[in-house]
């Protein structure tokens, strides 16, 4: 039986892939292993039980903060997604349809949040919106508004890029003109024609927003020093406990991976429809 000779280029590619995977997976595996060693000499899920059923940073009192902080951050993420869709989708649509020469300008502005350190943005928001005429930090709702606004700006590179990519996959101009020739106004066009064709893009953007929002620490901690946000909660657990932070890390990764799997699942189902409409 002839032995298949491995191409040196292919072999090199596999070596690089394995090394990169190892660079990502090995720390996760060590974290997971560490999270199982809460009970001496035995592998157990005690650290997970501690996180999910007690308050490891508060001597086990009250409703586990894992749930309250996750709920709070999920709520903030939900409103961030809503605001992002309301602003980004019409903006990206208008740029694609009416003023395509502004695309480079939009590309520049939407990546600015990457260039500005989070702490700088945080102090900027606080200084601007805690002072008159806004004075938003005087109320909890106002403070939450700043947090949502900050998240919206922070995730803008992802949401704009996802929506813009989705729009490039469809013939925005012709679909818009077809809809207008059939009597549709702008609201109908966005709601009935554009948005349904951006399902995957909007879902991708939403799940990315969720993943970022639940892990964000700087802005959340400055605005809510009682550490009610999930990122702040994780940091508090990390300060006070030994094995529970590792368990929290694994749980957070699992949440993000679920988001990615959902995106892939939905994208696979919609790819065929969009591919057929591409001209």
């Amino acid at each position: 039986m002839a032995v298949k000779k491995l191409n040196p280029t292919t072999l090199f590619a596999w070596v690089i892939l394995i090394l990169c995977a190892a660079y990502l997976i090995v720390p996760l595996l060590t974290q997971f292993d560490y999270s199982l060693r809460m009970r001496r000499d035995v592998l157990s899920f005690d650290a997970y039980t501690s996180v999910l059923s007690t308050n490891p940073d508060d001597n086990g009192q009250g409703i586990p903060r894992f749930y309250t902080s996750l709920l709070f951050s999920t709520l903030m993420a939900f409103f961030t997604i809503l605001v992002s869709i309301l602003i980004i989708v019409p903006t990206a649509y208008w740029v694609n349809y009416r003023v395509p020469k502004f695309k480079p300008v939009m590309d520049f502005f939407t990546v600015l949040p990457f260039a500005i350190p989070g702490i700088v943005l945080t102090f900027g928001y606080l200084r601007t919106y805690s002072a008159q005429p806004f004075a938003l930090t005087n109320t909890e709702v106002g403070t939450a508004v700043i947090l949502i606004g900050g998240y919206t700006i922070g995730v803008m590179p992802y949401t704009y890029r996802a929506v813009d990519t989705g729009l490039r996959a469809i013939d925005v101009r012709t679909l818009t003109e077809a809809a207008r020739s059939l009597g549709a106004g702008w609201g109908d066009i966005i709601l009935r024609v554009i948005l349904p064709n951006l399902r995957v893009a909007v879902l991708s953007a939403s799940l990315l927003t969720f993943a970022i929002a639940i892990g964000e620490y700087t802005l959340a901690n400055f605005l809510f020093p009682d550490e009610r946000a999930f990122g702040s909660y994780m940091a508090a657990v990390g300060r006070n406990r030994i094995f529970e932070p590792a368990a929290l890390t694994i749980i957070s990764y699992a949440l993000v991976w679920v988001c990615v799997l959902v995106i892939q699942r939905v994208a696979r189902g919609t790819d065929q429809t969009q591919a057929a409409s591409i001209r």
């Binding site: 012709t174 003109e177 077809a178 020739s181 059939l182 009597g183 009935r192 429809t273 057929a276 409409s277």
Partner: protein, 362 residues
């Protein structure tokens, strides 16, 4: 009074004039094609009627109502696009129903209208399919049904068959015309395909560089072209260079031929000077081929007769195209194909004959 009036339409994009001095009256139920090469302004003119371009100057009226400043979604003008533009997330039925739902028609009316449209395009069983599950021809039928479903005052078709293969194009072309005639919708059709324009239209508007070159029935456009562009763009055209023999005369000496080989025009050229260069245009089907050795049993008096040599014979199916050398120039002759046709031989010396009425000076 015309149903659709386009008056002195002018459209400029910055320093570039896309359409100028466009005047056209279209009667109710008429099928008019805009024909011309790419960049001639036909699509721009159509888009002004649809409302997607605003005229720099001029006005558009439908049924005596001014619509120049009316937004596209208020004009009740249906449009079919070259790329079909079906909504990919909607089924065939939903695509057809779209305009009716936007207009908030009752559900029962929408249902009935969609059924009627599916029957019209013979796709009753395909209402639940999605665009990606349809062929190109089927998609274009759905696009047509969608545009017609809203009962538009005017139907616009922007090169709807360009993306289809030849056989489907032919089938769909006939269907479009049949549907248009059945429903009596005033229709504007944009195409660069002269065969499409000629076979579908009540009238054809030939355009070049933003201007109307000629408007007329297909018969008029083809047989009586008013400009050299129309003559050369519509159909095939022979061009023979010669000189006018006498002032305001009707006899032309063709270049490269002996002085005896003059041709006579159907009428004199008032204003023509003796010795002036003249271009004689002639359709290939007007040229008949004979042999000097054969006695033509039906000589037609006053026909022009010239000596020629066979250079090339091309079989085009129903037509056999023969390329001849006439002096130093070339000329095409189209012969109707039939099994008993005796084809000339390459290099054979022949005579060609054509009526003075077939000669055009443009």
């Amino acid at each position: 009074m015309a149903f659709l009036e386009l008056s002195n339409l002018h459209k400029a994009f910055g320093p570039t004039t896309a359409v100028e001095n466009f005047d056209l009256d279209v009667q109710r139920g008429e099928f008019v094609s805009f024909l011309g090469p790419s960049g001639c302004g036909k699509t721009t003119t159509m888009r002004m009627v649809a409302g997607f371009e605003t005229p720099t100057q001029g006005s558009i009226k439908i049924d005596n109502a001014e619509i120049t400043g009316v937004p596209p979604n208020k004009r009740n003008v249906g449009m079919v696009f070259q790329s079909y533009a079906l909504f990919p997330h909607m089924s065939v039925s939903d695509n057809i129903a779209f305009g009716l739902k936007i207009a908030r028609k009752p559900a029962s009316e929408i249902h009935q209208r969609v059924s009627d449209m599916l029957a019209l395009i013979k796709m009753q069983a395909l209402g639940n399919r999605y665009p990606h599950q349809l062929s190109g021809g089927q998609q274009q039928r759905v696009a047509l049904a969608r545009a017609i479903a809203i009962r538009p005052q005017v139907l616009l078709l922007d090169e709807p068959l360009s993306a289809l293969d030849a056989k489907i194009r032919l089938e769909l072309r006939n269907e479009i015309r049949a549907i248009q005639q059945q429903l009596g919708i005033t229709t504007i059709y944009v195409t660069h395909d002269q065969e499409e324009a000629m076979s579908l239209s009540d009238r054809v508007v030939v355009m070049c560089e933003g201007r109307m070159e000629q408007v007329g029935t297909p018969f008029e456009i083809y047989n009586f072209p008013r400009t050299a562009f129309v003559a050369s763009f519509v159909g095939t055209l022979n061009v023979l260079h010669g000189t006018l023999q006498e002032a305001a005369g009707d006899r032309v000496l063709i270049e490269g031929l002996p002085p005896g080989a003059m041709i006579r025009l159907a009428r004199t050229l008032p204003g023509g000077r003796a010795g002036e260069g003249v271009i004689v245009n002639l359709r290939p089907e007007a040229v008949q081929i004979g042999s000097p050795a054969t006695h033509d049993p039906t000589p037609v008096e006053h026909d022009n007769v010239l000596p020629a040599v066979i250079e090339q014979i091309t079989f085009l199916g129903s037509v056999v195209r023969v390329k001849l050398r006439v002096g130093t120039q070339h000329l095409l002759a189209d012969l109707f194909n039939n099994p008993s046709l005796v084809l000339p031989k390459l290099g054979e010396k022949v005579t060609i004959r054509f009526s003075p009425d077939a000669c055009r000076i443009l």
